[in-house]
Symmetry: D2
């Protein structure tokens, strides 16, 4: 029941959407890492809502305040705590959330888990707002990875039934990743992106919501990172990815499509290219035996449609112990896929950095 | 780089396919659990090869010897070590594995990770044989779960392009699960199973291999198990599942198909049934907010085609540092999906038990 | 290099004495624990300096602000973060601490460990102020233990060469423990306490400092808590106790004096008293085989004299890379033993609670 | 309730004295460490009983068999399991141990902890025999430390009331440590050692036992190893040391004697010696702020007298639920201090190596 994860870079997250603040403590940060707080703020802004009509109009400034572990522009090596004050709270009556369990939400499972003591206002600890600390963590990790030439990027592969092209599994130009990260709606093909956005707005108009798929890539990761079994790159990445609310599927390389390939098709044959061992294809998504093999690490993450919809839904009343109906009012995201992109990049960067530090132990 | 996993029930696995033995240590086992070693042997036999022409003809008896932690038919509460001696070793020359990296295998990634010191014979620590300890662990966990009325089962949903029907997400008769577990080829529909087996034999005849999808279910798990974020049921299950060699995708509930549903379709509405909170559908696979919600937990796991194929493949020679070709000789599985079924059940049972113990801490 | 500890109740501490705040995140707190924040404040006040001329005149209000995990008077079961703002900071020049390493302090070891990046102002992360979060944790744990009838107390056994009587190892009246905790200077015998205080003031007058020994007791802890080997009650208590700055020795029961006893003297013989298994003596301090045996848990902790003294001392200049002299100015404690008492109680209460939760997993 | 410890080098121990075998799994071992199994056997022999009349005449060959993780003379980087078969078992009736709880032993505490299911034969999991795996681990760690020039040694400082001189806290000749380790009775001064041995034999003649103190030293450990708070060198060493059965006290540097020193006396002043920062004294035992400061790490460990004595003792009968008397028959150690020396060295070497690997993560 832990809000702590990581082997070498441990993150402890805390907070409820209507408490004093949300935040994180990062433990194990190497000293002497120059942190650009502007870059962190930019990553946080990518996740923040209220930018356009695709997401909730809630304004969450997501201004963070570093409390510790950062001195004169560098990490100190001691735990870094950052808090994000909760400011844009409507002082409305949330007691309905205590009674009527929202379908598709954590409400009922959380009620049982926390024995009825959890802060139900605005989803409390389950609020999507808790992904802000994840993005903070990722922004730190990206800066550490950048020093080693490793890049992390992601795009919206699919919204509802509208898809765009996949990343080239053999790798793509890092400039494309940079450009992607600067877009409000992260797609390679803006025409496809336009259709996706129309699909989101159509769902919104129908008091409905849509889901999608995010594809991510890690480039220039050296071979040898990860481990067989419980610290496999896939195990640790999926662990972190499924920690992101609304994620319901993760696949590496060709993933579920591998079930339909033969060994002759799926095996990535090897050759030397410029003196370096390279694969001729990348069906395995850069990971074999749980360990990076020098090819780009590629995976896709399925995001379910936002469960908060304004339509009337059937549910139960805990107080009355009877069936009832519910109409969720308030400000909601008709789709969270576009806001999930920086979160997925973040947990990816964090996990990869964590495993790179693991490999340092064995350096000679 | 850890061969240890688990919060309360920690497993430490060890061994190489051509060392003295492989095995495991289970740490945290409650005392007084009556263990039926016959049941353990039966589960181990489900995974063992050599039963028919669908898998490698290697005979691996997988006879285990409990070293500790078990006394007078009960667990003692101290660490339980079991070892499985390696007996059916061909004293053949394995030095080719040191030189020519098998495509699709861990060979190259492992070579880099272990800096060339790993035991390459028969795949060494990466050998599929290491899943035997996982099955042992699972057989213990299943007995603990059975005392609480919780059942775990799985079937082969797909081999190559041949599929059978899904589990009913609202739950199935436990007797069906028992019958499934007694089959050599675990399918609900034996006619479909027959086609799948033909597909495997066809691949074998072509010196090729095929992959597939395994669907698993956990029934009668109470609501409230798991946690948001890093100890989510999905995070911990996926972590364990991706530790199983050849797993490349995991999806819960409708998984990737959720990307194409709207919120109105995907939300599992709630009602009271016989005084119990129940969902009207189960698109979320029994998990919301990372926590079990009382519905069956359902997920699918993609298994890639066995990388060991007898066809000539392009690869590299580490010794010569040049491109070369490789024909893998020896005894191989044209498909490992059918043998992966008990392994997937095993890591599932283990993880679920581990999280049930977590919930005990908060019992009043 | 972790600021996180605990099996079930994990604490993550953070902060530097001159950063924005110091604080902690408690992870794994059971939901529904009624927390009396007044009691927490009272414990914090016990540790706070500035109460009399025995300690530094610095005023540290140690006002904590709970950020999360606490709702309507109860713990929610989600991570509880509390921060303590740093207010009484003198804007003086701390650059000398960057250059001249204070003898007996962490300065030089910390400089090497953090590669020169640590916040040196006021000792930074090494500041005794970081024990405030430990006391907060302990105040929460004491409230949980109180519900189970378990009490934790401590007294100053020794200051320099002045000692008072030991706790009766067979147990003492809980009212005595309560009274002890209400004293500013926690001794059983106030006359002895008066002499100890004179000794401290004498050291202060001589620009010197003194150390001492704290003896702690845990009463009404049931038998069976702890484990052999790595989770022994002694291992976990000592781990936590040596985390408290200035602690240099820990001994359980008769401790080092056991080296001079024979087995016949040291063995605590057993008998039934009122139907309960009881020992006739308590040389083992309530712990045998790493596990509580139902007798009071007793141990002593050696605290070294405060290294900050105003006398001229020989040291090195890192900047000049030469030998030099140092006179530490500012406000310092001539003795920290009296302020260490609530800290030792705190880590004890935390550890005992953590292991009690561990035992819950095995409850039937 | 874990038999697993370590951050980077994790050890999982298992076994009961009358089960099939005892052993360990070492997880996280770097690949490519050349292991001299002769050296391991020599360390194991130092701990083994039956060498003379000072310890139990039981012959325990302690022959280990490495199962995994070791190939062609080098560690592979995969988990290393070693087992030690239990051979010299008397097939005698152990049922008295199930009934009459031996004073000073773990019997009663273990009975409660394991709910009566533990293997009581010969002490089961609590048997001192379980220290053999610790010595194996230490023998591996010592070989890794030797590559970095770090040495670990220990001597018997005290048996009952007979003491010899302390290690020079400023460091001693490594040759002296080597010679010490080759002695059957590890003392600096053989005349004092002779008196100690006479004291042990006198206790034996009286059907009694004696305890003592072991002093250990780690030399050439670089400054910067360890951390403040929960991974302090003192926390981690004491955690490991108190895992060794019979240890009841641990003190670093001057330890409890620091309570009687003033700050002016206890502070280790600094100067440059041959261009290196060095302390002028070593009252802090080489550790300040939880971190090594470049001076030798010195500490003492109190060992209680063996609780197994042949004299009649008062105890309880669990079966009859009444008071009774007990005479422990069989072969016992009148003193275990001399056998504890290699065990203390072992857990020290392991812990120091573990923290050295921790420091590697931050290397530039």
């Amino acid at each position: 029941m832990s809000g702590i994860f990581g082997i070498n870079i441990k993150m402890s997250i805390f907070g409820e959407s209507h408490g004093a603040s949300i935040g994180l403590v990062i433990d194990g940060l190497p000293p002497g890492l120059a942190l650009d707080t502007e870059l962190i703020a930019r990553e946080m802004a990518r996740r923040a809502p209220g930018k356009n009509n695709l997401s909730t109009p809630r304004k969450e400034a997501d201004n963070f305040q570093i409390q510790s572990g950062f001195f004169n522009g560098y990490t100190t090596g001691t735990p870094l705590c950052a808090i994000i004050a909760n400011s844009d709270q409507h002082s409305k009556d949330y007691s309905i959330l205590k009674d009527k369990m929202r379908p598709g939400h954590a409400d009922y499972a959380g009620y049982v888990h926390y024995q009825g003591y959890n802060d139900y206002r605005g989803g409390g600890h389950f609020s999507g707002r808790l992904t802000a600390p994840l993005v903070f963590m990722g922004a730190v990790a990206k800066q550490a990875l950048a020093q080693q030439g490793i890049t992390v990027g992601a795009h919206i592969l699919q919204i509802a039934d509208i898809k765009e092209e996949h990343f080239n599994p053999m790798g793509i130009d890092d400039i494309i990743l940079t450009k992607l990260s600067e877009k409000t709606f992260c797609v390679l093909d803006d025409a496809a992106g336009e259709k996706m956005q129309q699909r989101i707005l159509a769902a919104k108009a129908e008091l409905n919501s849509v889901g999608g798929v995010v594809e991510a890539i890690v480039q220039h990761l050296p071979a040898g990172i990860g481990a067989p079994y419980f610290d496999s790159l896939e195990s640790r990445l999926s662990h972190a990815l499924f920690s992101v609310p609304a994620v319901k599927g993760v696949e590496f390389g060709d993933g579920f499509a591998l079930a339909e390939l033969t060994g002759a098709e799926a095996n990535d044959q090897l050759h030397y290219a410029e003196g370096r061992v390279t694969a001729c294809s990348n069906h395995n998504g850069g990971i074999t035996g749980g360990i990076s093999n020098g090819m780009p690490v590629i995976f896709r993450t399925a995001i379910k449609p936002t469960p908060s919809i304004a339509r009337k839904q059937q549910t139960i009343s805990l107080l009355q112990q009877c069936d009832t109906e519910l109409e969720i009012t308030g400000r909601h995201d008709p789709c969270i896929v576009q806001r999930a992109v920086p979160v997925i990049e973040a947990v990816t960067a964090w996990t990869v950095w964590d495993l790179l530090l693991e490999a340092k132990k064995w350096e000679r």
